[in-house]
């Protein structure tokens, strides 16, 4: 049965491809009904699907395609002229055909769809000319190979299979096999001779064979196939079908494999980032060494090749956007008839390529936009003529590359968007408040049509007006990190631009820091970054805002959105990342900007999915995980965040309670020195006091001990010259933390220069003990600084 499945798969893939093309061709045919070439092409599609489906025993589908074929054949022979009315029926039958194919894909059977209505209509068309007989008479004489299939098909329909003896069955199978092979051959020939359509042609004779009992010429001796052969035939036929007759220039690849490949490239990009970081570190440490140059070369080659590889793999996932555009000519055609308007569709740039996953996402939004343009945009012919426009409206659909993005532009020359109407409607629907509406720019007002529950159509028609459409557009486009840009001039038409990133898996991001955490913001939503001082932040109605050139930008602190604990003392300056999403803007306050980096988007997995404001995670060069900000969600969240403050942030420095000291060992001192002997000497000097001593070998270690918060330190003795992090840097770092702002730091050093002392003071040291010192002196300095109670001595 597997082989049957395999054949079925091939059949489905082939059929869907054919049908997709069919739509486009048919619409074109309507405009040029005389185009024989086109007609032949369309006929062939119906024929191929019919042939294959009868072979696979999809009776309903065969039945339908068969009648379609009939009509098309007549048209081909000039017996009927394709009028719009006939085209409606043909198109309807194609829709049915699609539905049937979908059913087959889902259930492996073609039951459940009623085609009889459509078949009757088709019959009427082909029979209406009173020429029902003619095809039957003409065809059989013409083609022998095809005839056999015809015979087979008709028999399938009517003959009883159970009467056959085993031998008969065998014989029949053999015969069918031969036929099949021959048919394949014929097909191949036909394929090769692509342009020349007719040779393989008309199996039309079986128009109404069912009623007319067994058909003409080569009467097959054994009774025909019905149910059983269905199982056996494909098995036998499979190898035949598989043999490739033409050398193919393309191969079908399972999307899963490409996804896997993309994941691997993702890993590689991460490794590359890491390598670059290590290279930088090494460069810093071994400046001027010879091997550095070589290392540099290797690193840059690796990073170059990785980038190329990434692009190459991305390209394999690309599909031309024409795949989506294809269905629009048909849609416009249907709509024009439904709405009694005249609309022409111009398509440009259908070769522009996009990632497969994105192509799949943008189909629906485009449908909605185009429907809207047809329904609300383009006026009825009378109105158009009255306003001096050509009778037929034009909708143009363009796709092109712009930097790292693909732009899909939908223009129409209809009546355009009316800002006032939109605003009034939005007020009516409660989408905005009056005050908001007044302060809105035109562009912001256009943005309103994307809101849920919004519709400007006076009445709900079957085409649009339910107020869901554009909302869907927004959701879907944002899902692929795209943005929507609407422009319109009243009376002149409107233009909608969808800007979509090329790929989803790897993006450019801006890395920002807040306190000790880092977040990645997709660069596509970052408009600019500015550095501001605290005084530039104003509070209006409980919200922070700032003035950015000539506009007022509302601000929100990233720490407030992501509940970041404030442990660092806020600095005088902050950075504002200006985020833009369509017409919406928001300033995100961060503590620091780290830089721009290429990041690989990883999902947070089933357990953590759907966390508001987080779009995913990425792995950084240092192996750590950085979360990626979901700008869309963040903009929503920002509305509910109270203005806090960066302004008043420094309030809670004394959060940890100061315990009453009851004995000498309650005092804790940290000694930071890289020399064990020096630490020993200091320890000895303080031994007499009974204080608790904690040691650290360098600044970094000391900082880590502080961060862990296992001890409440009362004071620190800090050496200046230490590896990894020296005393000055340590002091600077410590002073950033609110809770350690008042921790007395005592420098113990052999550096005696005035400038050294100055630096010590600058970095926040309270005392400066120069080596050598006496034990008593050290002890007394420490005691004084930690307010040691003498009664403990």
């Amino acid at each position: 049965m597997d082989e049957f499945q395999e054949i079925l798969q091939d059949f489905l893939i082939e059929s869907f491809e054919l049908v997709e093309k069919l739509d486009e061709d048919l619409v074109e045919l309507e405009n040029t009904p005389e185009d024989l070439e086109l007609l032949n092409g369309i006929f062939r599609v119906a024929h191929t699907v019919k042939g294959a489906s009868s072979f696979l025993n999809f009776d309903v589908l065969t039945h339908l395609t068969h009648h379609m074929e009939d009509v098309l054949n007549k048209a081909r022979h000039g017996e009927i002229i394709i009028t719009p009315d006939i085209m409606d029926v043909v198109l309807e039958s194609i829709d049915l055909m699609k539905a049937l194919l979908n059913t087959i894909r889902d259930t492996s059977a073609d039951a459940g769809i009623d085609v009889s209505d459509c078949v009757v209509k088709l019959d009427k068309i082909s029979g209406g000319d009173g020429e029902v007989e003619s095809p039957k008479a003409v065809a059989p004489v013409k083609e022998v190979v095809q005839e056999e299939i015809v015979v087979q098909e008709t028999q399938e329909d009517e003959l009883d299979y159970d009467n056959m003896s085993d031998d008969d069955v065998e014989a029949e199978i053999q015969r069918l096999l031969n036929e099949r092979q021959e048919e394949d051959k014929a097909k191949r020939v036909a394929k090769i001779a692509a342009g020349e359509s007719v040779p393989e042609a008309p199996p039309e004779p079986d128009e109404e064979p069912k009623k007319k009992a067994p058909p003409p010429p080569p009467p097959p001796p054994p009774p025909p196939p019905a149910v059983k052969p269905k199982k056996e035939e494909p098995k036998a036929a499979a190898p035949v079908k598989k043999a490739p007759a033409v050398v193919e220039q393309t191969i079908r690849v399972d999307v899963k494999r490409l996804d896997h490949l993309m994941n691997l490239i993702g890993e590689l990009v991460l490794a590359k980032n890491r390598l670059i970081k290590i290279n930088d570190d090494v460069e810093e440490r071994y400046e001027g060494e010879e091997f550095l140059e070589e290392l540099n070369q290797v690193v840059s080659i690796v990073s170059l090749v990785t980038t190329d590889l990434q692009i190459a793999v991305m390209k394999t996932r690309m599909l031309p956007i024409g795949k989506v555009f294809n269905k629009f000519p048909r849609m416009i055609r249907d709509l024009t008839r439904e709405l009694n308007k005249k609309i022409e569709l111009e398509i440009e740039g259908e070769d522009t390529e996009l990632d497969k996953s994105i192509v799949e996402e943008i189909g629906d939004p485009l449908v909605h936009i185009i429907r809207n343009s047809c329904d609300h945009g383009i006026e009825v012919p009378d109105v158009r003529i009255a306003s001096g426009k050509p009778e037929a409206g034009t909708i143009s659909l363009k796709a092109y590359n712009e930097g790292n993005q693909i732009v899909i532009q939908i223009d129409d020359d209809g009546k355009g968007l009316d800002v006032e109407v939109i605003k009034n409607k939005a007020l009516e629907n409660g989408v905005v408040s009056e005050k908001e509406a007044d302060g809105m720019s035109d562009k912001e007002a256009f943005g309103l049509i994307l809101k849920a529950g919004f519709s400007t159509a006076a009445a709900v028609t079957s085409v649009s007006g339910r107020g869901v459409g554009m909302d869907v557009v927004k959701t879907n486009i944002e899902k692929v990190n795209g943005i929507i840009d609407i422009e319109s001039e009243k009376g002149q038409g409107s233009s909608i631009k969808l800007k979509i990133p090329l790929t989803l898996a790897i993006i450019q991001a801006l890395l920002v820091g807040v306190q000790e955490e880092y977040y990645a913001i997709p660069l596509s939503s970052v408009l600019e970054t500015v550095r501001i001082s605290k005084e530039e932040i104003y509070t209006v109605e409980g919200r922070s805002v700032m003035r950015l050139r000539d506009e007022v930008l509302s601000l929100v602190h990233i720490g407030d959105i992501f509940e970041v604990e404030r442990i660092l003392d806020p600095s005088e300056y902050a950075y504002v990342v200006v985020l833009g999403l369509g017409a919406q803007k928001l300033g995100l306050i961060v503590d620091s900007l780290v830089g721009q980096e290429e990041i690989v988007i990883k999902s947070l997995g089933e357990y953590l999915k759907g966390i508001e404001g987080i779009a995913g995670a990425t792995i950084r060069g240092d192996g750590g995980v950085t979360l990626i900000v979901d700008v869309v969600a963040l903009m929503d969240m920002a509305k509910n965040v109270k203005a806090s403050a960066m302004v008043e942030a420094s309030g809670g420095s004394g959060s940890q309670e100061v315990k009453e000291k009851t004995k000498a060992s309650d005092y804790t001192i940290m000694i930071v020195d890289d020399s064990k002997t020096d630490r020993m000497i200091m320890k000895k000097a303080l031994e007499g006091t009974g204080m608790t001593i904690v040691e650290a070998g360098d600044g970094q270690e000391a900082l880590n001990i502080l961060k862990q918060g296992d001890h409440n330190f009362d004071g620190m003795l800090v050496d200046i010259e230490m590896p990894r992090m020296d005393g000055y840097s340590l002091a600077t770092e410590i002073k950033k933390y609110n809770r350690y702002k008042n921790l007395p730091l005592i420098a113990v050093t052999s550096r005696t220069g005035k400038s050294d002392r100055m630096r010590g003071v600058e970095s926040g040291m309270v005392e400066y003990i120069t080596k050598p010192y006496s034990a008593d002196y050290l002890s007394s300095v420490v005691q004084r600084n930690v307010n040691f109670k003498s009664e403990f001595l």
């Binding site: 890993e267 955490e517 947070l604 953590l608 966390i611 987080i614 995670a617 979360l627 296992d710």
Partner: protein, 164 residues
């Protein structure tokens, strides 16, 4: 000849079956401690056990979800079992481990206080969870009896289920 061969083959087959049956009776578990209690999970649900390293906090989650960490290129959630079981927070020390558990496609790291040992238990020595804890929601698979103590065997699929 062929009869004999068949016989031999049958016998071998039986022997294999027997040895399979025996191994079927034994459940292999890994024991670990959280707070005062000893727990165990089936050894095959453990992907790996690693020493603690840095992780990234994730906002808007319950406190027991500590965040995510990087396990050779995969981003994996980290869950503190102490907090999840209602115990107080404790600093990580030398014995703390991240236990990466897997059930079907779900993977997560769990912070445990310390490992004890691999345990082989007969199926017959495993009793059902106490009645009061029965039902769909319990995280307890059963209770394993050893000579001197009992061990709570946890359901990995329940541990990996998001409950917020």
């Amino acid at each position: 000849m062929s009869d004999k061969l068949k016989e031999i083959i049958n016998k071998q087959g039986e022997q294999q079956n027997i040895s399979l049956d025996q191994s079927d009776d034994i459940v292999q578990l890994v024991g670990f401690v959280i707070g005062e209690e000893e727990y165990a999970i089936p050894i095959l649900t453990i992907q790996e056990i690693i020493k603690p390293f840095s992780w990234t906090r994730v906002p808007q989650v319950p406190k027991y979800v500590m965040g995510v960490f990087n396990l050779r290129g995969s981003v994996i959630p980290l869950i503190d079992l102490r907090l999840k079981f209602g115990l107080s927070e404790q600093k990580h020390n030398d014995e703390t481990r991240f236990m990466v558990m897997k059930y079907e496609d779900d993977v997560a790291g769990f912070v445990i206080d310390r490992l004890t040992m691999a345990i082989r238990l007969k199926k017959s020595d495993i009793g059902p969870a106490p009645d009061t804890l029965n039902g769909e929601d319990t995280m307890i698979e059963g209770v394993g009896k050893q000579e001197d103590k009992i061990i709570t065997i946890l359901k990995v699929n329940k541990l990996l289920e998001r409950d917020f």
